[in-house]
């Protein structure tokens, strides 16, 4: 339902340069954008597409180390590129407001939330202090913050992330601006919290008929929020269309490929009738040095050649479970069995053969590969270390591994990790794990730092390797789409406990444990009416933190 009315923001041929390696390079390469009053436009693209830079540019603002080099930005008839700094500043906060990604970092720790809220109205002399505070409380209530009368008088660090994000949206609303820039406002939040913030943002934008630019990398999120969607790639526009049209009928190849990502699904395998599990986590409790218990009586089994996805929000203990299995964090109670025999709890006490059985692939390929070591050694070292390969045999093995992960050996043999792209690095990480010839691999959020297309490639690769090498995976993730495509079994965790576990097909059909239900229903879907439908089904008070608290 695009509201074709008066044009509010008109950007033409915008070029923004960034300073790197002692020279200015274009990071935005001539983008056009037209936004009408009351319209919400989603800016979507992979990391490095320049979404956030355009967002700041729409306020006539260039971040440190960037400059607007060409083009025009016309806001409500006023040209921002030629306006004086004072004129531009007079718009910010009053007519164009900004909501940042990390609310926790973007609120000044030294002042109360409500004082930061009223700063704008007071500065622009729109309201007296008392009025502004009353108004703030009203906005807090509309955004469904708990204790709206009182919450503003707290300091930012005394309030949770999801609440802060809503308080920041309220702050952006304080002067009733014509346009709000939302810069990935829910990226740092958990899915159950995200949905609550999304609902609140959508409501308030609608109530005040505010135009918005909604920046995100998540297609499903933008589908809920935006009237029109603009897809960006490396600082240039790919295409723009209304949300329904973009979802049902994308024109460009790149957009289609983004949409197609979720099609991959590996056939589900089932447990052998009578076999010993490869890895068995038995009643494990764990805590970091005398701290509170992170894991509480966690038990599940992983069978050879199967993928078990461990799902949960941040702080649910999924990564800690992996650390217990690998031996980095010896459990305070319970044990880890490998083919029925206990593993020594501390990795230092495990034999070379025990260590090789269980390998890890990490989320951030950047920190998982030593930037100062050649690819040949990164992959070659485990092979030499465990199998004692030397010379030509070692070189052959490394070539074989590079072939296995679909990278041309001669091209990559002598390169260093920083020269590779994110997906290539992740492949090297996989090759390093394979070099040990393991039977079991822990995949810790291996696709969440990657752009969707690349992630898809990695998932296919992992699936192929599993079939060829009979590997078992423990797949830690918070992304249910990934679970759907690769898992055989699912374990749902919350607050250090296993809430529910079972084969994938059972897990995705009701009835569920209430938490699983909440988790599953909170994951945004590509359907633009998903959020509306969900809110109708569950009611606004039965989502997010409120719902979690009820459980």
């Amino acid at each position: 339902m695009p509201k074709k009315k008066e044009v509010l923001l008109k950007i033409r041929n915008l070029k923004i340069q960034g300073y790197s390696d002692e020279q200015w390079v274009d990071i935005i390469k001539g983008v056009d954008l037209t936004l009408h009053r009351g319209e919400v436009m989603g800016l979507i693209g992979e990391s490095g597409a320049g979404k956030s830079t355009i967002g700041a540019g729409a306020m006539g603002y260039a971040r440190d180390g960037t400059r607007i080099s060409e083009g025009s930005i016309e806001f409500d008839g006023m040209e921002l590129t030629t306006a004086t700094e004072a004129e531009r500043r007079a718009l910010r906060g009053s007519r164009i407001a900004y909501v940042a990604q990390s609310a926790a970092a973007s609120f000044n720790p030294a002042h109360k939330i409500i004082d930061q809220h009223t700063e704008g109205p007071l500065q622009y002399r729109l309201q007296k202090r008392m009025e502004a505070q009353e108004d703030a409380m009203d906005l807090y209530e509309r955004l469904r913050l708990p204790n709206p009368k009182e919450i503003g008088f707290r300091y930012p660090h005394q309030v949770s992330g999801g609440q802060l994000q809503r308080a920041m949206t309220a702050m952006a609303m304080s002067c009733r601006p014509d346009l709000i820039i939302f810069d990935e406002p829910t990226t740092a939040l958990d899915v159950t919290t995200q949905i609550e913030v999304l609902a609140a943002i959508r409501d308030i934008v609608e109530q005040f008929n505010t135009a918005a630019i909604y920046i995100t990398h998540d297609l499903a999120v933008v589908a809920q929020m935006a009237d029109t969607i603009k897809v960006l790639l490396k600082g240039s526009e790919v295409e723009e269309a209304s949300t329904e049209e973009m979802l049902s009928n994308p024109k460009e190849e790149y957009t289609k490929s983004l949409w197609a990502v979720r099609s991959f699904e590996s056939p589900q395998k089932h447990r052998p009738k009578d076999g010993v599990p490869l890895i068995s986590v038995k009643n494990v409790d764990a805590s970091y040095s005398a701290g509170p218990k992170i894991l509480n009586d966690v038990s599940f089994d992983i069978y050879a050649g199967m993928t078990v996805a461990v799902v949960g929000e941040s702080g649910s203990g999924k990564s800690t479970t992996a650390r217990c299995i690998t031996g980095l964090l010896p459990p305070s109670k319970g044990e880890i069995l490998f083919k029925g025999t206990p593993f020594p709890p501390d990795y230092r006490n495990r034999s070379k053969d025990q260590l090789r059985q269980c390998q890890m692939i990490y989320q951030m390929a950047d920190t998982a590969l030593n930037p100062k070591v050649r690819i040949s050694e990164i992959i070659g070292r485990p092979a030499a270390f465990y199998s004692g390969l030397r010379g030509a045999a070692l070189k052959n093995r490394v070539d074989e591994l590079l072939d296995l992960i679909e990278l041309e050996p001669s091209q990559y043999y002598n390169r260093y990790p920083p020269e590779l792209s994110g997906g290539q690095k992740q492949r090297i990480g996989i090759a390093r794990a394979l070099a040990a010839e393991p039977t079991f691999i822990v995949c810790d959020e291996v696709t969440s730092a990657l752009d969707q297309l690349v992630a898809e490639g990695i998932l296919r690769l992992l699936d192929r390797l599993q079939d060829e090498l009979d590997l078992a995976y423990m797949f830690i993730t918070h992304d249910l789409a990934t679970v759907r495509s690769i898992a055989d079994e699912v374990v749902v965790m919350q607050h250090g406990r296993v809430v529910e576990q079972g084969p994938k097909d059972e897990m995705f059909t009701p009835p569920h444990d209430p938490y699983t239900d909440l988790l599953l229903s909170s994951v945004p879907e590509m359907d633009p009416n998903w959020l509306t439908t969900l809110l109708e089904e569950r009611g606004v008070d039965n989502i997010g933190d409120a719902a979690t608290a009820k459980l």
């Binding site: 990795y347 998982a368 030593n370």
Partner: protein, 353 residues
């Protein structure tokens, strides 16, 4: 108004106008603010002050030219990778490298460069400069220039040895503490805290008073004083590396501490450690110079810059700048090293962003 003054202002104004015309904002700001400052200086200090400014500017220009030429020289000689990095060096860093290079040459080839021996008495006390003696004689009639050249070997050599000793101790302990963690890490951290709570010069004086001012004592004392500082930095740098997933991967593989430090941690801590080495060298050098100035450093007749300043200090009251030369030699090297370190730190911090 002399022609000099007219020329002086004409030149400055011409440069300002040209810079403004060609939109070189920083050059314009510099030239024009210099013009304004010169008005004040000219009124207060007369032609003399303006001449001093002109001489300073000329010297700065010469230094800049030397630095520029030296940087081009290095770029021409260095292999491609290094040359690319050198191109990013500001003139100050090039100047620093030039200074370090000159001092290294002077120190290494001291006996061949210096016309006389360091303890050789060749004329009367405080004899002025002549064709034999570039800078005149010191309080015992030894050639100042020769002693200055030998000083490069003695003073810098001592500071360098002490810095290396401090570095081996501190960096070794720091790497080990970061890798091992646990009680060893805790203990070393506390120990470093205690040592660092004693001001360095005071601690050095305490040790020298007890064990006597001999070269080995100075080296050991300095190493003990500065090792905790190096330890702290190395611990912090290595601490950032140790939390990386590739270290965890290596640990889980079953690699030993030696491999972890050598192959995984050290290569990733090298850049900040080298910069830190430069910084620590400056501190050590200044401390050792201070000690010799107090008469507690390298003992005579060995030539040493700090003690040369003290021995000739009386000349100052006659308006003679001779005692300032060795002091300037100290300052110049420290400035040079600091310039290079500043560039390196700037680079590594720039890369992070």
């Amino acid at each position: 108004m002399s022609y000099f003054v007219i020329g002086y202002y004409a030149l400055l104004l011409a440069v300002s106008c040209l810079a403004a015309f060609y939109n070189r904002r920083s050059v314009f700001l510099l030239a024009f603010s210099l013009t304004l400052v010169s008005f004040v200086l000219g009124i207060v200090g007369g032609v003399g002050a303006l001449k001093a400014v002109a001489i300073c500017a000329g010297l700065l220009g010469l230094t800049a030219m030397v630095s520029y030429a030296f940087r081009e020289f290095l770029i021409a000689l260095a292999p491609i990778e290094t040359a690319k990095e050198l191109r990013t060096a500001p003139l100050t860093a090039a100047f620093g490298m030039f200074v370090i290079f000159t001092y290294a040459i002077a120190g290494i080839f001291a006996p061949w460069i210096a016309p006389f021996g360091e303890a050789e008495v060749i004329s009367s006390a405080f004899a002025p400069a002549d064709e034999n003696m570039l800078l005149g004689a010191d309080q015992l009639g030894r050639d100042m220039f020769s002693r200055l050249v030998f000083g490069a070997r003695n003073s810098v050599g001592l500071a360098l040895t002490a810095t290396i000793a401090a570095f081996v101790l501190g960096a070794g302990a720091g790497l080990l503490a970061a890798t091992k963690g646990g009680w060893f890490d805790q203990f070393m951290g506390r120990f470093a805290d205690v040592i660092m709570s004693i001001p360095s010069l005071i601690f050095a004086l305490l040790m020298l008073s007890i064990f006597g001012p001999t070269t080995p004592v100075i080296i050991i004392a300095v190493a003990i004083i500065y090792a905790p500082r190096v330890f702290r930095l190395t611990r912090a740098v290595a601490g950032n590396v140790v939390v990386m997933d590739y270290i965890e991967a290596a640990k889980l593989r079953g690699e030993g501490t030696g491999y972890l430090i050598r192959r995984e941690i050290l290569p990733n801590s090298m850049a900040p450690l080298i910069a830190e080495f430069g910084l620590e060298f400056c501190f050590v050098f200044l401390l050792v110079a201070g000690l010799s100035f107090l008469g507690l450093g390298i003992q005579p007749p060995t030539a040493d810059w700090g003690s040369m300043v003290r021995e000739n200090a009386t000349l100052i009251s006659f308006g003679d700048i001779t005692p300032l030369i060795p002091a300037a030699a100290i300052a110049l090297l420290t400035v040079g090293v600091n310039f290079v370190v500043d560039w390196m730190l700037h680079r590594s911090s720039g890369l992070k962003e």
